[in-house]
């Protein structure tokens, strides 16, 4: 029962495999593979620090069993600037000063990517609703909302 199992999945666009224990969650899997951008903070799916995309859907890695990503595609914060260039959302967070300590930032950035993909021009209300499940203990919320709007404008201009 306690033997390790091997799972195979796509990690940030590349084939990956890992030997895991049945009870390990997705954050533990990523840490095992040397990716530390997703952090377990509240451990209850409330704070968003462990946000990871599974098959392009945002999940809380702390509530997701590692076994569950077998055969699926996992995208983490580390994927966004692998080309050497920051994504428009990452750039906007820097320009708006949307963080202090940065612990929550990977989650906010990934959630913002998802939001802008689904809704390229969100209202402030829609931004706040979408990010309601991400907590910033430095309380950079006004700057975060501004960063989302800035990213939306940048991405709109890039499309034009």
């Amino acid at each position: 029962m306690s033997e390790t199992r091997t799972i195979r999945f796509t990690l940030n666009g590349r084939p990956a495999s890992a030997a895991i224990q049945s009870h390990h969650n997705l954050v533990e899997l990523l840490h095992q593979l040397g990716l530390f951008g997703a952090r377990e903070s509240c451990g209850q799916g409330l704070c968003g620090c462990c946000t990871v995309l599974v098959d392009d859907v945002a999940v809380s890695g702390c509530l997701y069993l590692a076994l569950g990503v077998n055969g699926k595609s996992v995208t983490t914060i580390e994927h966004l600037d692998e080309s050497g260039t920051l994504s428009p959302v990452q750039q906007a967070f820097i320009e708006a000063g949307a963080f202090q300590c940065g612990f929550c930032t990977p989650g906010f950035v990934l959630m913002t990517h998802q939001l802008l993909k689904q809704n390229p021009d969100p209202s402030e209300d829609e931004i706040r609703h979408y990010l309601a499940g991400n907590l910033c203990r430095c309380a950079a919320y006004p700057e975060i909302v501004e960063a989302v709007r800035l990213a939306a404008r940048t991405m709109k201009q890039a499309r034009a």
Binding site: M1, H23, G45, A58, L63, Y64, M111
Partner: protein
């Protein structure tokens, strides 16, 4: 958490056969968000989890009937339900209720069947679906049975479902012009677990006269409950301030409240007293 056995059946029948009527440490897992919250602190220690991932595709459709009804596969995510035009057009009350249900990541992962089967009285889907008169189709080793959502819950985390039964589908009957409203009252942030949640479904004889009523309470009590006395007060009554006051007193007296981290029983009683008239007014607005 400690290790457990993990199986991925390829059919619903196989899933049922891998469960065990007499062993509650063998459990099905769909989205797993609620189950993980119980497993991490050791409240639930599984010996085996039966993953429903491989049968997801067969049970994740949302279909609107020509009569205004809705059939929701048990493996539909709460986010898919929230974004479903068929669900929202036929049942506008669902949109607001789902948007404040936990957060988008949990709604992306949590499944309708799991949310109905878990038996946590704080969840939104059970009282919402009970308000709408929904039923579930439940598959077990001896076949399929049909259960009203309001009859699923026996107590705190206790349901009438056997350990080897699985919800396959939820069926929401048409509103047929009935008015529905759902309110969730939290004592901290808007997307927190509620201190009280409440649904009202009113069939109207005319603009002011109620023909039939359903009033469902969640979170404040140990299980999702219909308030039968309050419903009978509403039935056949003309809506006015006097009625709303009587109804609100009746509900506060009828419901059984439980104190928890989200509010004391006395606070929840007061919430119900205040919010029931508001919910009725919202349904009729």
């Amino acid at each position: 958490m400690i290790p457990f056995d993990w199986v991925e059946p390829a059919s619903l029948k196989e899933a049922v056969s891998l469960l065990d009527a007499d062993d509650s440490t063998v459990r099905p897992i769909s989205g797993g968000t609620a189950l993980m919250l119980m497993m991490k602190p050791g409240f639930f220690v599984p010996s085996r989890l039966v993953s429903l991932a491989k049968i997801e595709a067969d049970y994740s459709s949302i279909r609107a009937g020509g009569d205004g009804s809705l059939r929701v596969g048990a493996m539909t995510s709460l986010a898919e339900l929230e974004r479903s035009a068929a669900a929202i057009v036929n049942f506008p009350v669902m949109k607001g209720a789902l948007q404040t249900l936990s957060n988008i990541r949990v709604r992306n992962v949590a499944r309708v069947g799991g949310a109905l089967a878990h038996g946590d009285p704080h969840m939104d889907l059970p009282p919402l679906f009970a308000t709408l008169g929904a039923r579930v189709s439940v598959v077990g080793p001896d076949g399929t049975r049909d259960i009203a959502v309001e009859d699923l819950y026996l107590g705190y985390y206790q349901t009438v479902l056997k350990n080897n039964e699985l919800i396959a589908e939820a069926i929401v009957p048409p509103l047929n012009g009935a008015r529905a409203a759902y309110k969730k009252i939290t004592s901290r942030s808007a997307d927190d677990w509620p201190a009280l949640n409440m649904g009202v479904r009113l069939e109207m004889a005319d603009a002011n006269t109620i023909k039939a009523a359903r009033v469902v309470l969640g979170a404040a009590s140990e299980r999702v409950t219909r308030l039968a006395q309050t419903e009978s007060l509403l039935t056949g009554a003309i809506v006015n301030d006097g009625l709303l006051k009587r109804v609100s007193e009746s509900a506060a007296a009828e419901a059984r409240f439980v104190s928890d981290a989200h509010g004391s029983a006395a606070y929840k009683r007061e919430l119900l007293r205040v919010y029931l008239p508001r919910t009725i007014k919202e349904a009729l607005s």
